[in-house]
């Protein structure tokens, strides 16, 4: 026992604080597991290179939808019920910046400290590969809402993890189909894609799809500048010199914006047909600096392509988003919306099965497996990865600036059924492309 009275006081005070903290902790757990609230940890880029293009618009869309759901009766059936099966939705946003190691720690914090009911997140493919083993270890129901790498469920199998957006293979399969169906002259094609998995895979998928659908087309220069390079003058010269009929690119965010700003004045878009596999998200920023006649994908029937094919659900969300943020929703909020609506569908399905109680992680996983639901981006079906990986319809269009409204529009939009541009369950996307798309349902 210390003879110092201050030390004794500090010791008692410390013990008291620990006790109080423990009680608050217990109270906190009780509150977070309350039956009337469903807590979601929403992980997306709120800073860094992918924030402006993907993370921030997605979170903006997510907030908007969660507010609508909590209010209840705003969206058409089956999304007219309040919250998730009557439970208010409480979302905790977490910044995805910082790399996979940091995200694994953040994931553990969300599950173990914040006691969230679901983690819904991840734009980066690296994070999407790092999180699932931890989610299964913690038995934590988790939704990957955005990332594109097919490897998550083609190379792994997870009980508690689901991806509610199609993987990236369909983007480039659809582009190749668009070239063929629109009769675009492609004797030669070149590419500029970032030098990491996303860019390399996109180019490989496009080359394989073209060799199947347009076997006479020859692949030329393939450029792989570093991600966030910013300077593309030399690459643009190489593409101009190549004089390829088509230039393919999966650049995104600031890199895509810089490429368009630098390539536009140099006439690349007049010399070659340029096709951006996931380019819709830079249209709000670039406006009419995105040249007319550019072929654009949106990683699903998202953005302008969704508006052209709109349902009541799409229109409500579209108008609310435009009103709130002063710009139209691009692909990122659409993927967030389909993730949240899929989660709502799974929660309510699980509650129907368990008599209306808040579902456990196991009940959520059972409900989500093989689920189908309607989203603003079309019907989402959890078909691949034994019911853990979504397929969805896709759309490709061509840009045209509307001088009357001073807005970018998409013309010549072609829509592709989910089963037309996604492989069947059990076949890897790359093998499916190489085999000539066996079993594709395109009518």
């Amino acid at each position: 026992m210390s003879k110092n009275p201050w030390r004794r006081f500090a010791g008692k005070a410390g013990s008291g604080l620990i006790a109080a903290a423990a009680m608050l902790g217990i109270a906190g757990i009780g509150a977070s597991k309350a039956e009337d609230t469903f807590k979601i940890g929403v992980v997306t880029f709120l800073s860094g290179g992918a924030a402006e293009s993907f993370g921030v618009p997605a979170w903006n869309g997510g907030k908007l939808l969660i507010d609508m759901l909590n209010k209840g009766g705003v969206l058409p059936a089956p999304y007219d019920k309040k919250g998730f099966g009557g439970m208010m939705i409480d979302a905790i946003p977490v910044d995805e910046a910082g790399g996979a190691t940091k995200q694994v720690q953040e994931f553990r914090n969300l599950v173990q400290r914040e006691k969230v009911d679901t983690v819904l997140g991840y734009v980066s493919s690296g994070d999407c590969l790092a999180i699932p083993p931890v989610a299964d270890e913690l038995k934590a129901f988790t939704i990957l809402y955005d990332c594109g790498t097919p490897r998550v469920f083609e190379e792994g199998s997870y009980e508690y993890v689901f991806r509610t957006a199609a993987h990236a293979a369909m983007d480039n399969i659809s582009l190749a189909k668009y070239m063929k169906s629109r009769g675009i002259k492609v004797e030669t094609f070149a590419g500029i894609n970032q030098d990491y998995a996303w860019g390399q895979d996109s180019w490989a998928d496009f080359v394989a799809s073209m060799s199947n659908l347009s076997p006479d087309a020859k692949a030329g220069t393939a450029l792989f500048p570093k991600i966030f390079a910013g300077q593309y003058g030399t690459e643009i010269s190489a593409l101009i010199r190549e004089r390829a009929d088509v230039v393919h690119s999966s650049l995104w965010g600031g890199d895509l914006q810089a490429f368009v700003l630098q390539a536009g004045p140099r006439g690349l878009f007049e010399r070659s047909q340029v096709a951006f596999a996931a380019g819709d998200h830079v249209i709000p920023q670039l406006g009419n600096k995105m040249p007319d006649g550019t072929i654009i994908g949106a990683r699903g029937m998202n953005g302008l392509a969704a508006k052209a094919h709109a349902t009541e659900l799409t229109n409500i969300l579209w108008e609310a988003y435009e009103k709130e943020y002063g710009t139209f929703p691009v692909q990122a909020p659409f993927r967030m919306w389909q993730g949240i609506l899929g989660l709502k569908s799974a929660v309510e399905k699980a509650m129907e099965a368990n008599g209306g109680k808040k579902p456990s992680d196991e009940e959520l996983a059972a409900a989500m497996k093989g689920l189908e639901w309607e989203a603003p981006s079309g019907k989402i079906q959890m078909v691949l990865g034994d019911g853990h990986q979504a397929i969805q319809p896709n759309a490709i269009g061509t840009t045209k600036w509307d001088t009357a409204t001073n807005k970018m529009t998409l013309i010549d939009i072609e829509y592709y059924a989910a089963e037309c541009v996604n492989p069947p369950n059990g076949i890897k996307a790359v093998d499916w492309i190489k085999a000539g798309f066996p079993g594709a349902k395109c009518d």
Binding site: F224, T234, E235, G254, L261, P265
Partner: protein, 300 residues
């Protein structure tokens, strides 16, 4: 022939840009003996300041005289230098001049991290676009080659910057005072040179050159958080090739790297990322101190 012309022009354009972003780094090292890792952030702040200045210029009716946007860009870079230069040098770095090199590198790395967040606090994460100055000068056709005239403006600015820095250092009295400080700080001090002022002015000049690099780049890109990270890496490669502290070295190193990279993109695109470091490794094998730095006897 056409290919050679492409490689040469592309290499010179990229080399000119590289020189502008790296000359400030080598100047600060040469005079202050500081390896400034915050150089990339200063470049990024220059880009943001220029974007804001150009945006304000056009918002205030600059459409009537769009060429004035170039003055706004340079003005933005100058403001960055005049505010951040003295603040960082007098407020922070001077307290570490007597410390080990590693400590100063860590301090400037800390400044880099702080400035990255300061940029987000001031400008947010939404990118800024000021592409008007990029297309103002029209295009240039050189036979089959087709370029934006702004690219040649960057070359002209790089040549001007190189000449001004060289002339100031070698042909003016103040420049010779700076050279004296570089040669022997203590001796200069005993001869009555105000070394503190030389340090501050040189650091402000280094900050201005970093910010100018960012300002000139702003119209070509979307100015967003993180754009300075890659720049510091490539700028280091250039000044190491040229010899740390050598202005001529930075110029030759930038042109070397620019042409090597252009040749790689046109002839062997797979090696694009690797080629810069191959050039650096090749130079260091034969000249470990870089192309233009003289071997110096160590003082004991």
């Amino acid at each position: 022939m056409e290919l050679l012309a492409y490689i040469l022009v592309d290499g010179l354009i990229y080399g000119a840009w590289l020189f502008i972003v790296s000359v400030g780094l080598t100047l600060v090292f040469g005079v202050l003996n500081i390896l400034n890792l915050a150089h990339g952030s200063l470049y990024a702040i220059g880009a943001y300041a220029a974007a804001s200045a150009v945006g304000a210029y056009f918002a205030l009716g600059g459409d009537a005289f769009p060429l004035g946007s170039y003055v706004a860009m340079i003005g933005g870079a100058a403001i960055v230098a005049l505010v951040l230069g003295p603040l960082l040098e007098r407020g922070l770095l001077r307290h570490f001049y007597d410390r080990d090199h590693v400590i100063i590198v860590l301090v400037t790395y800390g400044v880099f991290l702080i400035l990255e967040d300061v940029m987000k606090l001031i400008w947010g994460v939404t990118p800024l676009f000021v592409s008007e100055p990029y297309s103002l000068l029209g295009n240039v056709e050189l036979g089959p080659l087709y370029y934006v005239a702004y690219d040649f403006l960057v070359i002209a600015v790089a040549i001007l910057v190189g000449l001004v820095v060289w002339f100031t250092l070698n042909r003016t009295r103040r420049g010779k005072v700076v050279l004296a400080v570089i040669h022997d700080r203590e001796m200069s001090q005993t001869m009555g040179v105000n070394v503190d002022r030389v340090f501050m002015v040189s650091f402000v000049a280094g900050v201005f050159l970093a910010a100018l690099g960012g300002a000139l780049t702003a119209p070509m890109i979307s100015v967003s958080p993180g754009i300075g990270v890659n720049v510091i890496i490539i700028a280091f490669a250039v000044v190491i090739i040229g010899g740390l502290g050598s202005i001529e070295g930075a110029a030759i190193g930038a042109v070397f790297v620019g042409i090597a990279r252009a040749a790689s993109v046109h002839l062997l695109p797979e090696a694009e990322l690797f080629i810069i470091y191959l050039v650096m490794a090749g130079v260091l094998v034969f000249r470990p101190e870089g192309l233009f730095q003289k071997t110096q006897a160590r003082k004991i």
